[in-house]
């Protein structure tokens, strides 16, 4: 057996699906290899990894052509349980795969299924909890853990089964930037420590590329690139499918003969071209004094139970027409704060005023008219069967005329670029479309303020760009926007003003340029400095300002600092 995983000419079509999910897949993965699978949402990545334990085609039925062999077994002829004893698969959404009432039971569940003797289970559970850094969490309820803790629990649960192959399907989609780095290095550590094969599906290339040996790019069910990291990167971007990390793009556009993944790799290539320059100018203040205050939060405290308060004296003022990005680690109180703005949560102490009205005395039905609220998970926001009804929901409540409903629905759908989907079923939409529909449904009421809670969860980079562009356009039309996000790089490029929360308090409120270079501050808030900003900071002696977040900005600054030929 030369390979752990072998796909021979595999085409798979889900039952009732018009087009195949996988087309002519040929893939062979050697024991001990660490492989990244990437590609747009809906390109077939999850289908591919589901084949590895036989979920496809045994559980998710359909037509499978070709042959898939995993650890020498034909996945069509082996029970899922037997495959799963050798292949540890962690799914994208940790919440949906936790099935017991305590972390310790969750970790023991797999080994119990394998019939491991009680004493050995105890040992394995102990080891797994230690490796996943979950000591002290043994008796906690999985559903009440933060996203990162849930993800760590799911990984520990698989680790305790001692699989030969680890498979991780977007393990970091719900995590804050630092949590992402920690979970990724945890996964790679675990697999490497045991010398096991690791297949990881991920969109976050900047974080994951330094950790893997090989990259497979999938689009529309086909493998379009496959090879060692450097080779795949050297072949350039594929629009809408594969966007290389900013540093690689930078090197490419400068014509450097390197594929840098970290600031340290590219720095020595740049410094000879640059001339030492004056210290960078102080950061420009990106926030212009804007209009009237539309949101005023004064000394707000809130707690969900006897635990430590979720909000501890938050003060925040947002003015008409601003675009504010709210960031911070998982569980820092971001969502709790914005829930107060529409009255879904009422403060224990303090006051919230929105558009001049005290929220405590204003019914939600009234606030909802002027404040559009998009929840983190668009599925949680859907209240109807059909796109048409979903759009009309808020307007029907207000008894708008049919003509008006039809017109507003049409406009909103056109704005998000989904005009063709008016008659579609809500549940048949993919993640990206559903997110855009959620936005459109909120826009039908023409709100003055738009609150969007993490629109990029589980979205591929292309969709993330699209949704951020849409939000930006709405802001330019005069809407005040509050955006919660973990996408630090995006936020820094789109929103001028940053609000950072930590443990229920606002720890920073100001221009992005003040924090992009402050590594210590970013780390304490579980944010992660962008590689391009790290590079900028390292090039400080050459007059490169440290608050650079985009490739274009970096190029123009480099251009300015380049030695003129004598």
């Amino acid at each position: 057996m030369d390979h752990d995983i072998e796909f021979h000419n595999v085409t798979f079509t889900y039952e009732d699906a018009p087009t195949p999910a996988l087309v002519d897949i040929d893939l062979a993965i050697k024991p001990g290899e660490t492989v990244l699978i990437t590609g747009p949402s809906g390109s077939g990545k999850t289908t591919l990894v589901s084949c590895l334990i036989g979920l496809v085609p045994q559980f998710h039925e359909g037509r499978l052509e070709g042959k898939i062999t995993v650890l020498g077994r034909d996945i069509r002829r082996t029970r899922i349980g037997v495959m799963a004893s050798k292949v540890g698969l962690v799914f994208q959404d940790p919440e949906s795969q936790l099935v017991t009432a305590e972390v310790i039971d969750e970790v023991a569940f797999g080994p119990e299924n394998l019939g491991i003797p009680r004493q050995e289970i105890e040992q394995r559970v102990k080891d797994a909890i230690k490796v996943a850094r979950l000591e002290g969490y043994e008796q906690r309820e999985p559903i009440n853990l933060s996203g990162g803790e849930q993800q760590a629990t799911a990984i520990a649960a698989i680790y305790a089964m001692h699989p030969e192959i680890y498979v991780m399907d977007e393990p970091t989609s719900n995590l804050d930037p630092l949590g992402t780095r920690q979970i990724l290095s945890l996964i790679v550590d675990i697999a490497k420590k045991r010398g096991k094969t690791l297949v990881i599906v991920e969109h976050k290339l900047e974080e994951v590329l330094p950790l893997v040996d090989r990259v497979v790019v999938i689009d529309k069910g086909r493998i379009i690139r496959d090879g060692p990291v450097n080779d795949v990167l050297a072949q350039g971007d594929i629009p809408g499918v594969f966007t290389r990390p900013p540093l690689v793009q930078l090197a490419d556009r400068l014509g450097l003969d390197t594929v840098p993944l970290t600031a340290e790799e590219i720095e020595p290539q740049l410094t000879p071209r640059l001339k030492p320059g004056p210290a960078p100018l102080p950061p420009p203040n990106g926030i212009e004094p804007a209009g009237e205050p539309v949101i005023e939060v004064a000394d707000v405290w809130y707690s969900y139970g006897q635990d430590t308060p979720a909000l501890r004296g938050v003060n925040l003022t947002v003015r008409q027409g601003e675009f504010v990005a709210i960031m911070g680690r998982n569980g820092s109180g971001k969502t709790t704060l914005v829930r107060h703005l529409i009255g879904l949560t009422q403060p224990d102490r303090g006051t919230v005023t929105v558009l001049g009205k005290p929220v405590a005395q204003t019914p939600i039905t009234e606030l909802a008219q002027r404040v559009g609220f998009c929840f983190q998970n668009p599925i949680h926001q859907m209240v109807s069967f059909y796109v048409k009804e979903e759009l009309a929901f808020g307007m029907k409540v207000r008894q708008y005329s049919d003509d008006r409903i039809a017109q507003a629905s049409q406009e909103a759908l056109a704005f998000v670029g989904m005009s063709d989907y008016m008659e579609a079923e809500v549940m048949s939409l993919g993640k990206g479309l559903m997110q855009r529909l959620a936005l459109a449904s909120v826009l039908t009421l023409q709100p003055d303020i738009l609150i969007v809670d993490e629109p990029a969860t589980g979205q591929d980079p292309q969709m993330t760009v699209e949704i951020f562009d849409l939000i930006k356009r709405l802001n330019e039309q005069g809407k005040t926007v509050l955006l919660i996000t973990h996408k630090f790089g995006f936020a820094a490029q789109y929103a001028p003003r940053a609000v950072v929360m930590n443990r229920g308090q606002v720890t920073f409120d100001g221009a992005f340029s003040d924090i992009v270079a402050d590594q210590a501050f970013l780390h304490t808030n579980s944010l992660d400095q962008l590689e391009i900003s790290r590079l900028a900071a390292r090039l400080g002696p050459y007059g490169i300002p440290p608050w650079i977040v985009g490739v274009d900005h970096m190029l123009s600054e480099l251009d300015r600092a380049t030695r003129q030929p004598a």
Binding site: I53, L55, F59, R79, I80, G81, V82, A84, S85, F91, E95, S96, Q97, L98, V99, T100, A101, E102, I104, D105, A108, G110, P111, E112, N113, L114, G115, I116, R118, I121, E122, V125, I143, N144, I158, M161, I342, L344, I364, T365, E366, A368, Q369, F375, N377, I379, H380, Q381, M382, V383, S384, F385, F393, G394, V397, R398, M427, S441, V442, L445
Partner: protein, 337 residues
């Protein structure tokens, strides 16, 4: 407040889930066998004290309070509508027409009825408060094989209990058997043995692991379902939907608007779980599945069970010797009736 598991480390919490399941079960029979208000009140208040030690008075009272009016009505109905024709007349509820006579015996049995019902409810509450759902399911699941020596011991114990129980409860029927006394007792002994073997077989078989797992996952995700319902109502509110309207038709509409999304969420969740447990090798070999948590009876369990069985048998004995209503007799003696 929902009746759900409360974390803790009290006497009740430490008992084996099987003991507590037995408790809830036996209390039904205790309630049937003891018919005296003072005795039932004493048992009820002792049980309540145990509950307070376990989860505090607030939790115990809060949920119990909801059933008090119902059982109070039961007791009242018993007093009004079931007067004992031979009982001691107290007064007419509707005096001028001499309707609805109130009789002393009915008053006493009405109070007794109230305590009997509420005792059963409390026993079930305490089981739910102090037993994590997963443990409860584990208590119902068959784990490994019992040795035959242990099986014989348990069967003999059960048979002796059944033998005494039959003699106490069915003495009239036994007397009617056309046999000498020894023969009657032999028949009772055989029936007791057969009963205990059947009970043991049923009891030791337990629930198959697939069903048990279904139950325990169900319990584990109840919280999640509540969360999902909240998410949906939040979403509706955020779109300006009034989820607490004043008139009834609008309220029904609200519920209908909730049904669809919850239905979807539940289906989705069920699908997710099916995938999740398969990915963790649940169908690897279900029969050979092992369990990390070992359920072992401790001394306290045996003491507790002995007390329960003791109570049951005292009730049966009181019935047997015809001393069923000491309070009634006491009251009558006091007033020289």
């Amino acid at each position: 407040m929902t009746i759900e598991y409360q974390k803790g480390d009290s006497l009740l919490h430490r008992l084996d889930p099987r003991t507590k399941l037995l408790m809830a079960f036996i209390f039904t029979f205790i309630a049937l066998s003891i018919q005296d208000p003072i005795l039932t009140a004493i048992i009820f208040f002792s049980l309540r004290q145990l509950g307070i030690m376990a989860v505090g008075p607030k939790v115990v009272n809060q949920n119990l309070r909801q059933v008090v009016p119902v059982f109070f009505m039961f007791g009242l109905f018993n007093i009004i509508f079931r007067p004992n024709p031979n009982g001691f007349f107290l007064f007419y509820l509707i005096p001028y027409f001499n309707l609805a006579p109130i009789v002393l015996e009915s008053v006493i049995s009405g109070i007794d009825l109230f305590f009997r019902f509420i005792m059963i409810v409390l026993a079930v509450h305490l089981l739910l408060y102090t037993t994590p759902p997963t443990d409860m399911v584990l208590g119902l699941t068959k784990q490994g094989q019992n040795s035959s020596a242990q099986a014989i011991r348990v069967i003999i114990l059960l048979a002796i209990l059944c033998f005494i129980g039959f003699n106490l409860t069915l003495s009239e029927t036994i007397d009617h058997l056309p046999l000498p006394v020894i023969g009657q007792q032999a028949v009772v002994a055989v029936v007791a043995l057969i009963t205990s073997i059947v009970v043991y077989r049923v009891g030791s078989k337990g629930v198959p692991p697939e069903i048990a797992m279904g139950l325990s996952i169900g319990f584990a995700t109840l919280g999640l379902l509540t969360q999902q319902t909240k998410q949906i109502t939040d979403a509706q509110q955020a779109r300006g939907y009034d989820i607490r309207p004043k008139n009834i038709t609008a309220r029904i509409k609200v519920i209908v608007a909730l049904v669809l999304p919850i239905f979807f969420a539940t289906i989705q969740r069920a699908q997710d779980i099916a995938v999740a447990i398969q990915a963790r090798a649940f169908d690897f070999n279900v029969k050979a599945r092992t369990y990390r948590r070992a359920l072992i009876f401790k001394r306290m369990d045996y003491i507790f069970m002995t007390i329960l069985i003791g109570l049951l048998f005292s009730g049966l004995t009181l019935n047997y010797i015809g001393f069923t209503r000491p309070t009634e007799q006491l009251v009558k003696t006091m007033f020289g009736l």
